[in-house]
C-alpha cells in the first residue's frame, strides 16, 4: 500500500498515535515515579530498621567512652595526682572501664608544661596506661605539644573525637576522645592543665558492619567526620577510601547534596554512588554521640532490579498496546479513507462530465455510506440538470433564430420598403429586451401619396408575444392592400386577430396614414400610447386622440378615425411603452416628460438622428439598469414639396346660362397645360354644367365666382363655385332612386348626383352670405 503522507489516513493515524504516546508517556512517568517513591519508602523503612539497633549500640559505646573520659579529666584536675598515685589511678580507671567497655585500649594524661602537679618533672609530663595482652601497663611519653590531638583540644577547650587512625602500639583502628583537664589555681581560677585521652579500638566496627544482614546485596558502612571509611565489610576499603573523593569523582553535585542531606537531617535516603563508583541507594544516619555517619548501601543493580522489572513489564504492555492501537487505527482509517479515495476519483470523473461513472458501493449506515448515497443522488441530479441545460441551450439558439427572423421581417429603412420620397423622411429604431419581443413597427406606401405608419406592442413576452406580433404585422399589411381607411384597416385586422384568439392575448397599435402632399394624417389608436409631434420650432406636444379597444380583444370593436395636420418640418414620433417606462436603478421611469424633453432637445435632427438621440437619453437615464421591455420608436418627418403648392385662378360671371361656355372654356384653358385625361376634363365640364345651371336656376344670385386651383404634381383640380344666393347645400339633397323605370322616374336631383359620382370630392360650406361648393378631381 502506498502511503500518502498528506492523506487523511496518515494524518489521522499520526494524530491519534501522538495522543496515545503522550498518554502512555504520562502513565509510564507516573508509574515510574510511583514505583520509585514506593521503593524509596521501602528503602527508608529497611534502612531505618537495620540501622536503628546498630546505631544505638555504637552511640551507647562511644557515649560511655566520652562520659568516662570527662569524669576522669575532672577527677585528675581536682585531685592533683602525681607520681605513682597518678599511675595507679590511671591503671585502676582503665581496668574499670574495660570491664564494661573492652574496646577502651588506653587512658593518657598529657600535662601542659608547668601545669603538672607537684612532684612531677619539669616540662612535658605524660602518663599512658594501656592494655596489653599481659595486663595493663603504664608508660611514659613525650613530644605531644605539637600533635593535632593536643593542640585541637587545648584550642577548643572542650572534648573532641579525633579522626580515627591505625594504632602504633596495637595495629588496629583506633579512635581517641580527647578532653581538656582544668586545675584550680591558688587564686581560685580555673586553668587549662593538660589533655586527657581515651583510646578506643574500633576494630569491632568492621565485624559489626560485616555481620549486619542487608537484603539486595546491601551492606553497612561507617564514615568518620571527614568521610573516611572506618568500617566496611571489605578490608581493602577500610581506612583507605574517602567516601567524599569517590563520590566526587562520580558526581560532585551528588556529594554536595549528600553532605547537605547529612548536615540537615539525622537520617535519610540518598541516591548516589557506591564505593565502586556504581549507582547506589544509601540510607544514612548521623550518630548522636560521635559525629560519624552510619550508612546502609544498596548497589543500584540490585535495588533497581525490581523497579526495572516493573518498568520492563510496563514498557512491554505499553508497546503491545501501542501496536494493537496502531493496527486498529490503521484498519479504521483505511476503511474510512479507501471509500473516500474511490469517491474522490468518482467525483473527479463527474467533474469532467462523465455522468456514467461508477459510484463505489459502500455498505453500512455510517457517514461514508451516506456520502456515497448522496453522491449517487448528486450524479442523477447533475445528469438531469445538464440534460435540461442542453435543452435550454437549444431553446436559446432557437430563440436567437426567431429573433433574427423577427428582426429581418421588420424593415430597417425606407429603401427596403420603396418608400423613399422627397416629401418625407422616416426612421425606425428597435432594441428588444429579450431575444424576441412583442413590439413591432411598420411603414409602407398605400399609394403614391399615402404613407402608412404603424407601431404596435403585442402583450406578453418572448415567443408567444413574438408570434402574435408577426401575425399582427402581416395581417395589417395584408388588409391595407385592399382597404384604404385607417379605421377599416384596424377593424379588419382586429376581426381577423380576435376571431382566432384562443390564448386571450392582445395587441396595442397606433396607425396613421400620412398624405404626403398635404401633411394631413388620418389615424386611429387601438389602446396605444399617443404619439408626439416635434414641431419645426422645437416645441413638442402629444397627439390628443381618442383610443379604441386593443386589437384581438373583441371581434366587433370599431375605431374612430381622427386626424392631425403636419406642417412641413414637423416630425411625428411613434413609440411603445418601453420608451416611457424605461426604468433606472431607483425605480424611476423615463416617462412622457422625459421623452418630451429629449425630443425637444433633439433640435432639428432628422428622424434617424432624433431616434438615436432619444435612445442615448434613455441609456443615460437608466444608467445600466436592466431593460425589461422592448424599446421601439418610429419617427416620420413631413417635408412637403414646392410641387404641392396649388395654383389658383378665378373668374366671375353673371348668373346667366349663356355664360356657361365661357366658364367651361376658362377651366379648360387652366387645366389644359396639366395634361389630364379627356375623360376627366369631360366629367369636369359636365360638373360645371350641372352646378352652374343649378345656381342660375335656383339661387337667385346675380353673379357666380369660380376659382380653379390646380396642383401640378398631383394632377389635381379643385373648383369652387361661390355665389351670394340663398343658402343651399346640394350635397344634403336626397339622392334619386336610380333603379326606377323610365315612367316612374322624375328627373330632379340627377345633375348633382352625377357630379358626386364623377368627382373625387364634393364639399359644401356656407361662408357668411355665400354658398361655397367645392369639387375636387384628379385629372
Amino acid at each position: 500500500m502506498k502511503i500518502n503522507f498528506h492523506g487523511l489516513a496518515f494524518k489521522q493515524s499520526a494524530m491519534i498515535l501522538l495522543g496515545i504516546s503522550v498518554v502512555f508517556a504520562a502513565l509510564f512517568g507516573f508509574g515510574s515515579s510511583q514505583i520509585q517513591e514506593r521503593m524509596s519508602r521501602l528503602l527508608l523503612q529497611k534502612g531505618e530498621e537495620i540501622s536503628r539497633a546498630n546505631v544505638a549500640v555504637i552511640n551507647n559505646l562511644f557515649g560511655s567512652c566520652r562520659n568516662f573520659g570527662e569524669e576522669l579529666a575532672v577527677k585528675i584536675g581536682d585531685q592533683q595526682l602525681a607520681g605513682t598515685e597518678l599511675d595507679d589511678f590511671l591503671l585502676r580507671s582503665l581496668s574499670g572501664v574495660r570491664a564494661t567497655v573492652p574496646q577502651v585500649l588506653a587512658v593518657v594524661v598529657a600535662y601542659e608544661p608547668g601545669m603538672a602537679p607537684k612532684g612531677a618533672p619539669e616540662g612535658e609530663y605524660m602518663r599512658l596506661a594501656h592494655y596489653t595482652e599481659n595486663g595493663n601497663v603504664i608508660t611514659d611519653g613525650g613530644n605531644y605539644q605539637e600533635t593535632t590531638w593536643y593542640t585541637s583540644t587545648r584550642d577548643s577547650m572542650k572534648g573532641i573525637w579525633q579522626e580515627p587512625f591505625i594504632g602504633q602500639f596495637i595495629k588496629e583502628p583506633i579512635v581517641i576522645y580527647t578532653t581538656p583537664i582544668f586545675s584550680t589555681s591558688a587564686s581560685g581560677q580555673k586553668q587549662f592543665a593538660g589533655v586527657l585521652c581515651v583510646d578506643i579500638s574500633i576494630a569491632f566496627l568492621k565485624d559489626m558492619v560485616a555481620s549486619i544482614p542487608v537484603s539486595n546485596n546491601g551492606y553497612a558502612v561507617v564514615l568518620s567526620a571527614s568521610n573516611m571509611v572506618i568500617a566496611h565489610p571489605k578490608d581493602e576499603i577500610t581506612f583507605k577510601e574517602n567516601f567524599g573523593s569517590i563520590s566526587k569523582s562520580a558526581s560532585r553535585k551528588r556529594f554536595d547534596e549528600f553532605e547537605k542531606a547529612v548536615s540537615s537531617m539525622k537520617s535519610g535516603l540518598f541516591l548516589g554512588s557506591s564505593f565502586e563508583g556504581d549507582e547506589a541507594a544509601i540510607y544514612f544516619t548521623a550518630m548522636e554521640t560521635i559525629d560519624w555517619t552510619f550508612m546502609i548501601v544498596w548497589p543500584a543493580d540490585s535495588f533497581l532490579e525490581e523497579q526495572r522489572s516493573v518498568n520492563h513489564v510496563f514498557a512491554w504492555i505499553s508497546a503491545g498496546g501501542y501496536l494493537i492501537m496502531l493496527v486498529i487505527i490503521l484498519v479504521i482509517t483505511f476503511r474510512v479513507s479507501r471509500p473516500l479515495k474511490t469517491l474522490a476519483a468518482a467525483a473527479e470523473k463527474l467533474g469532467h462530465g462523465d455522468f456514467d461513472t461508477e459510484i463505489p458501493e459502500v455498505k453500512g449506515k455510517d457517514e461514508i455510506s451516506q456520502l456515497a448515497d448522496a453522491f449517487v443522488d448528486m450524479r442523477s441530479s447533475l445528469k438531469e440538470f445538464v440534460d435540461k441545460q442542453k435543452g435550454l441551450d437549444r431553446i436559446e439558439r432557437e430563440l436567437e433564430f426567431a429573433h433574427s427572423i423577427q428582426m429581418g421581417i421588420l424593415p430597417k429603412d425606407e429603401s427596403e420598403e420603396n418608400c423613399c420620397d422627397s416629401r418625407h423622411s422616416l426612421a425606425p429604431l428597435m432594441q428588444p429586451a429579450k431575444e424576441v419581443g412583442g413590439d413591432f413597427y411598420d411603414f409602407f406606401k398605400i399609394d403614391e401619396n399615402h404613407l402608412a405608419v404603424v407601431v404596435g406592442d403585442a402583450s406578453g413576452k418572448s415567443v408567444p408575444a413574438a408570434l402574435l406580433m408577426m401575425v399582427s404585422r402581416i395581417v395589417i399589411r395584408t388588409v391595407a392592400m385592399h382597404l384604404q381607411s385607417v379605421t377599416e384597416i384596424l377593424e379588419e385586422t382586429n376581426y381577423e386577430l380576435a376571431r382566432r384568439n384562443k390564448s386571450v392575448m392582445f395587441v396595442t397599435a397606433w396607425m396613421g396614414i400620412l398624405d404626403l402632399r398635404t401633411g394631413h394624417v388620418d389615424f386611429a389608436s387601438a389602446g396605444h400610447n399617443p404619439p408626439a409631434i416635434r414641431h419645426k420650432d422645437g416645441t413638442v406636444e402629444y397627439v390628443k386622440s381618442k383610443s379604441g379597444l386593443v386589437l384581438a380583444a373583441d371581434e366587433k370593436t370599431t375605431y374612430k378615425q381622427q386626424s392631425l395636420d403636419l406642417a412641413p418640418g414637423d416630425m411625428l414620433f411613434l413609440y411603445t411603452d418601453g420608451v416611457t417606462e424605461a426604468t433606472n436603478a431607483e425605480e424611476v421611469m423615463f416617462g412622457t416628460v422625459g421623452l418630451q424633453k429629449a425630443l425637444s432637445e433633439s433640435g432639428n435632427r432628422p428622424p434617424v438622428g432624433a431616434c438615436h438621440f432619444v435612445k442615448e437619453r434613455i441609456d443615460e437615464f437608466v444608467n445600466g439598469a436592466p431593460q425589461f421591455d422592448d424599446i421601439t420608436m418610429l419617427a416620420v418627418q413631413f417635408i412637403g414639396s414646392k410641387d404641392n403648392e396649388w395654383e389658383k385662378h378665378e373668374i366671375v360671371v353673371d348668373a346667366k346660362l349663356e355664360n356657361q361656355p365661357s366658364l367651361t372654356q376658362f377651366v379648360e384653358q387652366v387645366l389644359e397645360p396639366l395634361g389630364g385625361s379627356m375623360k376627366s376634363q369631360m366629367q369636369i365640364d359636365v360638373a360645371i354644367d350641372e352646378i352652374f345651371s343649378n345656381i342660375v336656376k335656383f339661387s337667385g344670385a346675380n353673379q357666380v365666382t369660380l376659382t380653379v386651383e390646380t396642383c401640378k404634381s398631383h394632377l389635381m383640380a379643385r373648383l369652387s363655385f361661390i355665389d351670394g344666393g340663398s343658402p343651399y347645400d346640394p350635397t344634403s339633397a336626397k339622392e334619386p332612386d336610380v333603379t326606377l323605370s323610365a315612367e316612374e322616374r322624375s328627373i330632379g336631383g340627377l345633375g348633382l348626383f352625377i357630379v358626386k359620382k364623377t368627382m373625387d370630392d364634393v364639399a359644401y360650406r356656407r361662408d357668411g352670405s355665400k354658398n361655397i361648393l367645392t369639387i375636387t378631381k384628379k385629372l
Binding site: 346660362l657 349663356e658 356657361q660 361656355p661 379627356m678 375623360k679 369631360m682 366629367q683 365640364d685 359636365v686 354644367d689 350641372e690 352652374f692 345651371s693 334619386p736 332612386d737 336610380v738 333603379t739 326606377l740 323605370s741 323610365a742 315612367e743 322616374r745 328627373i747 340627377l750 345633375g751 348626383f753 352625377i754 359620382k757 364623377t758
Partner: protein, 98 residues
Amino acid sequence: MQIVKTQQDATLTLALEGRLDTLTSSQLDAEIQGKLDGITSLVFDFAKLAYISSAGLRILLAAQKVMNKQGSMVIKNAGPEIREIFDVTGFSDILTLE
C-alpha cells in the same frame, strides 16, 4: 352641337355631334318635341357626342317615355364616358344601348 336628322319611313335617326348639356339640350328638345308622331323607331347615334349632362338625360328620358308607348328607342355608338354616365344614373336599365 350639331344634329343630323334622317327619317326613313317610320324610323327617325338623330346623329349628335358635340356636347349635350344645359344649353344645347333645348336644341335637341326642339327637334323631338311634337315631332315623333308616326315614328315607331327612334335611333340616337352618339358616335360623335362628347358628353351628356343631366339636361340631356332629361330629354332622353322624356323621349323614352314617348317611344315606350308607340315603338322603340335605341342609342347607338355611345362612348365609354357616356356609358359611364348611363351606368351611374341607372339609365342603362331604362335605355336600349347598342
